[in-house]
Amino acid sequence: MEQVMKKEKGKLWGLLTKVPELTLLILLIVAGYAVMEIFSKVQPTAVLSPGDMWLIIVASFVISTLIAVLAVIGGIGGGVIFTPIMLGFTHIDSLVVRSTGLVVAMFSGLISSGPFMRTKLADLKLVFYCGVPITVGALAGSVAAIYLHKYMGPVGDGYVRLSLGILMLIVAYFLISGGGATEYPKPKRIDPIAKKLGLSNFYWEESLGKVVHYDLTRAVPGAIMFIFLGFIAGFFGLGGGAFLTATLNLVMMAPVKIAAACSGVLLAISNATAIWTYISYGALIAVFAAPWMLGQVVGGILGAYLLISINAGFVRKILIIILLVSSIKLIMRGVEGAFGISLHF
C-alpha cells in the first residue's frame, strides 16, 4: 500500500515537472486566491459576508478540479456531475447553472485537446466528422434552452429531463451488459460511407505496450445521433460526454479509450459553440463561472495525462457509476418538474 502511494506521488510529481505550465498555473491560482483574501475590498451584503464570497470562489475551484479529473478519465462531461447537483441542491437560477455547467463540461475537454492530439488518442478524422453535426445540434439546443426557459418554464424542462434520465439508464445498461468486447470492439461489417471516408486508424495503447488498429462503422447513424447529442449538450449545459463516449464506442465501434478522448474534444467543440448563445444573452456570470473554469483547466490537464497510462476497463467502470447516479438524479428532477410530485426524501 505504501509502495502504491509512493508510486502515485512520484507520478504526480513527474507530471508537475513534465508540464511546467500546469505547475505555474497552480502557483498563480494559489497566489491569486491568497491576494483576493488578504486585500479584499468586496462589500458585505445581507446574504453573504466577504469571507463567504471568498470561500464560495475557493470551494468552487477545488470541487471543479476534482470533477475535471474524474470527467476526463471517465470520458464524460463534468456538467453531468455539476448541473444535477447544482439544480438539485441550490436555489441558483437554472440558466446560470446551465451556462456554468457548459463551462464545467467544456474546459476539461478544451484543455485536454492538446495532450490527446499530441498522443494521437483523439482521432482527428473522427473528431472533424462528428464535429459538424454536434456543433449544429449544440447551437440549436442552446437557442431552444433560452426560448423554452422564457416561454415554457419548468414543466417542459421536466419532461426533457425525465427522458434524458431514462436514456442515460439505457446507455448504462448497454455498457454493463456489453462486457469486455466494448474495450476493443471489432465491427462485423464496415458500411460503404465509413469506408469512403477512410474512418480506420490506429493508436499506441500504453497499457498493452503496442499499436492497436481499429475500424469504424455506422457513419450515418453516428452523425444523426451526434446532432441529437449536441442538442442535449447545448440545451441542458450537461455536456453529455457519457453519451458521446457510448455512441462512439457502441455505435461507431471505436475502442473505449479513443471514444473517451474523442468525446472530450467533441464535447469542447460543441459546448464552445453553445456557450456563445448564453454569453450574448447575459446568462454567463463571469465572476461566478471563473473558479469553475480554472478548476476545469487544472483538473483537465491532470486527467488527460492520467488517462494515457490508465487501464480502459477502469474508465468504463467509472463511466457506469456516474451514468447511474446522474440518471437517477435526472429522473427525480424530471418527475418533480413535469408532474409536480416531490421526490425529496
Binding site: L25, I56, S113, K120, V132, I269, I279, S280, L284, A290
Partner: protein
C-alpha cells in the same frame, strides 16, 4: 522488432496546440480579472452584487435588471476590459474563442496535405462556431 509509437498528424497538432495555449492564456486573464474584481472597486457591476444575487436564486433577468436595467444582449465585456468582471468575462470568452482559429488553421493544414474532405469538414465546423460567436440568432428579450 519493437513497435514505434505513431506520430500525430500535423493538422491534429495545430488544432490541439492552439486550443491548449489559447485556454491557458485565457485562464491567466480570468485569474487576473478575478483578483481585480475582488481587490479593487473598479468593476462594471460590484462583485458582491453578482455573487449575492446568484446565491439568493434571482433569475438572470432580475440580476441584470438590478445591475444595469436590462439584459446585455451582446458582448458587453468588450467595452469594459479595464474592469475586473469585464476582464474575467473576456478571459473566458477568449479561451472559448480559441476553438475558431484552431478549426480554421487545422482546415488549412488539411487542405495543404490535399485532404479536402476533412479540411472542408473542419471549415464547416468553424463556420458554425463563427455564427454562434456573432450572436445573429434572434433571442427573446
Amino acid at each position: 522488432m519493437e513497435e514505434q509509437k505513431p506520430q500525430a498528424p500535423f493538422a491534429a497538432l495545430v488544432y490541439g496546440e492552439i486550443v491548449y495555449w489559447g485556454v491557458l492564456l485565457g485562464s491567466v486573464i480570468v485569474l487576473i480579472g478575478s483578483v481585480v474584481a475582488f481587490v479593487s472597486r473598479n468593476n462594471y457591476v460590484a462583485t458582491s452584487y453578482w455573487l449575492s444575487s446568484i446565491w439568493k436564486g434571482e433569475s438572470i433577468h432580475e440580476i441584470w435588471k438590478g445591475a444595469t436595467g436590462a439584459l446585455p444582449h451582446g458582448h458587453w465585456y468588450l467595452s469594459h476590459l479595464t474592469t475586473g468582471d469585464g476582464l474575467t468575462a473576456f478571459g473566458i470568452s477568449l479561451s472559448v474563442f480559441a476553438v475558431l482559429p484552431a478549426l480554421l488553421l487545422s482546415a488549412l493544414a488539411l487542405y495543404k496535405e490535399k485532404d479536402t474532405v476533412y479540411g472542408t469538414l473542419a471549415l464547416i465546423g468553424g463556420i458554425v462556431v463563427f455564427i454562434a460567436i456573432l450572436g445573429i440568432i434572434p433571442m427573446p428579450s
